[in-house]
Symmetry: C2
Subunit: 439 residues, 2 copies
């Protein structure tokens, strides 16, 4: 059997590795447009900030590992320009070649969203998409004093953090009222207040014009000048080849897949950031372009292409980030997302010491839990210190469809220097008992 | 209604608070032998090490808070010397008084296990039980150069850590082959190797004689001399009053309770470290004297005494501790515990980077997962960095009876500086897929 994988990112390489493991005799060819495989764009802010020296380090493994150790025919610098029934046409250094397949995996990932044009066409404006972008940003940042970041999702936050570490003056422009606009205000405002200590944060402003050459960003309320403008306004899935093949594109704009990660066309699978999956909390189709789910989707698609029947249950959109010392995380839905999905919700927000009362440090965690009226928890968000373990615990319980009673009774470990004896997850659940009339 | 609570620790005060909230008109009297309430003996090592200045800080709240803010009749320095049907006899400053009850909660906690005699009778030997012990240990430690710690469960580890911070020479004597003998060797040996860098760790040695006056500990293999000898060989439940009342004592030696924390005598409840509960993993009665479960048991017993029907599901024995920089934690069963319980098990141990490969730091986590042949996970143990979030995640999944597939597919959050994209919990589960023939 001949398997073609379009895209050598996390999902593509996880799938290719899995197929060669289960079906060592099959031909598995990966076409990757860049010169990197198994690349981790999530690492870009850390490369820019200087934690990571070389772009090669942003790749989990290099090409020779996949070729020699895993027997995968990896072809970098190879862009698939056409995909049809049983074939792809690949362009490499100006040469064009046709390649046949029995199974095709589309793992084409995303590209940065831009305002009007393709980001790279906006002179003097940087986007954060492929890991190569990181080199340009880093180079440009050397000479810059004033950096303007448009958008404050994860990437915007992390780029602002990176630029502060490089001693730049940073302005962040956000359409919503607070950074991380998917979060509720209780968490978002905490982040906003933290950011405002070091960054010019401009909320509720809509960008109307960017002139990269002149270093000018015009919003509906003001004009900003900077020597480096970075767009972090999200990503869009690369679905053009999929559409060409006639596979269904879902309502989210990403490639529709069933639980085995099959598309609507026989023999064609999709995985990773270009593909839709199920939101485990809502049970509905969702588009969740995150690295950990992308890796697992690759594993699942590779298993199924190889003949197994492995269902992918979906993702919780679990997330962690930081702005300097402030950790922020979320699993499942915020209240605003839950309301948008039509749920009747109650919520509790607790501010809790991060460790046993008697261990002095003064640090705290703010945690918000959102539940349905029937007691099922829909999501947890938190900011402060000790966030990651609560998002791990919450992710696990949300995965299992847990109720507020489950959150209350789960036996989370107590260790005085790191946790209070009544964990904030437990306190939040207990507060919801009252609101839900449970006890 | 008159409610008497014997013991003003975590369980007793949580219950009393709960009862006054649900039944504000009831008389709730707490008899506590020491002068402290809501005391946290888990904090003793941190008091000895100097993080915590005052013993008062080791109490979540003080007496006046419970009296004035919560309306609880708290009587400190009051030891219950007899308990009978509808009454208790209390001794305070040499005076004896009878007090009637309609409901009785036994929350008498534990005392340190000793070798042959009551610990306080061994001259020059310290035990770690009530928070007042901490003052004596701290005082004695000032003059000591060589400290011998007998036993290396949590408390032994944490006391060894505290003594190192006070610049003492430390010898730890342990009957088992490695510290934390409930853990499997993969984790225990890692801890042993870490301890041996700074501590004289003597495993597989049984203490046969202690002479506190002479500062001598004799084992079956050697003799050790120290100016301070601390016994950390576990605790025993205080069940004497319960036995006097005729309530059933379970096979574990602690007070038998049903899921509503009722004892076998009408109107008598038990909660906290003196009481048995259910091990959520095995479904069997177990004795799990830990602070977080004790607080919840108090909450549940108080709810039920007040007329609600709240079942306590039990505990997972979830635990976290540290030895200097090494974090160690466990939820559910180790392999040796699982075998002892009669399970047919498979296990996987993974050594994983603690963060994304490209974030340099060289630190790692060793994580062991134990599962039944049917795929249900029985326990997770880990040591290294980033342990607590994995034990939180594992606790949540174990609470819900999760399988290796659940561990694999739970969407744990990825954040490069803090987690690798394939979480060690996920890798361990994937390794178990192979051993279980799942895929």
């Amino acid at each position: 059997m001949r398997v073609v994988v379009i895209g050598g990112g996390a999902a593509g390489m996880a799938a290719a590795s899995r197929i060669k493991r289960l079906q060592p005799k099959w031909d598995v060819t990966v076409f990757e447009a860049s010169k990197y495989v198994s690349h981790a764009p999530c690492g870009i802010p850390f490369h820019v900030a200087g934690y990571v020296e070389s772009l090669d380090d942003l790749c989990a493994y290099d090409v020779s590992f996949f070729r020699e150790d895993r027997g995968i025919d990896v072809r970098t610098g190879s862009r698939v320009i056409e995909a049809g029934d049983g074939y792809v046409i690949v362009e490499r250094r100006g040469e064009v070649e046709e390649h046949g397949w029995d199974y095709l995996l589309i793992a084409t990932g995303t590209r940065p969203a831009a305002l009007n044009a393709d980001c790279h066409d906006l002179k003097g404006v940087m986007c954060v998409g492929s890991i190569e972008d990181s080199v340009y940003i880093k180079e440009r940042a050397k000479k810059a004093k004033n950096v303007i970041i448009v958008g404050s999702g994860y990437l915007g936050i992390e780029m602002a953090d990176a630029m502060l570490r490089l001693h730049k003056r940073v302005t962040v422009i956000e359409m919503g009222s607070h950074p991380l606009p998917e979060y509720d205000v209780e968490i978002g405002e905490l982040l906003r207040r933290n950011m405002e200590k070091l960054v010019e944060f401009r909320g509720n402003e809509k960008v109307v014009e960017i002139d990269g050459g002149a270093g000018r960003v015009v919003t509906d309320r003001s004009t900003y000048r900077g020597d480096l403008i970075i767009l972090c306004i999200g990503v869009v899935p690369n679905v053009e080849l999929a559409a060409q093949l006639g596979v269904k594109i879902g309502d989210t704009g990403a490639i529709w897949t069933d639980e085995y990660l099959r598309t609507t066309v026989d023999g064609v699978y999709a995985a990773g950031d270009c593909a839709e999956t199920t939101n485990i909390v809502t049970g509905r189709k969702d588009w969740i372009p995150l690295a950990a789910p992308a890796n697992k989707m690759g594993y699942v698609a590779g298993s199924n292409i190889s003949g197994l029947d492995l269902a992918y249950p979906g993702s919780l959109k679990s997330q962690l980030t930081s702005f300097l010392d402030l950790e922020i995380g979320k699993a499942g839905l915020s209240e605003k997302e839950a309301l948008r999905e039509g749920y009747d919700v109650v919520s509790a927000t607790v501010i809790s010491r991060a460790r046993a009362k008697y261990i002095p440090d003064g640090k705290s965690i703010t945690l918000k839990m959102v539940a349905e009226r029937n007691g099922r928890v829909l999501g947890v968000q938190a900011a402060g210190v000790g966030v990651s373990k609560r998002i791990y615990g919450a992710s696990a319980l949300l995965y299992k469809g847990a109720t507020v009673e489950d959150f209350f009774f789960t036996d989370f470990p107590f260790y005085p220097p790191k946790s209070p004896v009544w964990d904030p997850l437990v306190i939040a659940a207990r507060n919801l008992f009252r609101k839900l009339g449970i006890s």
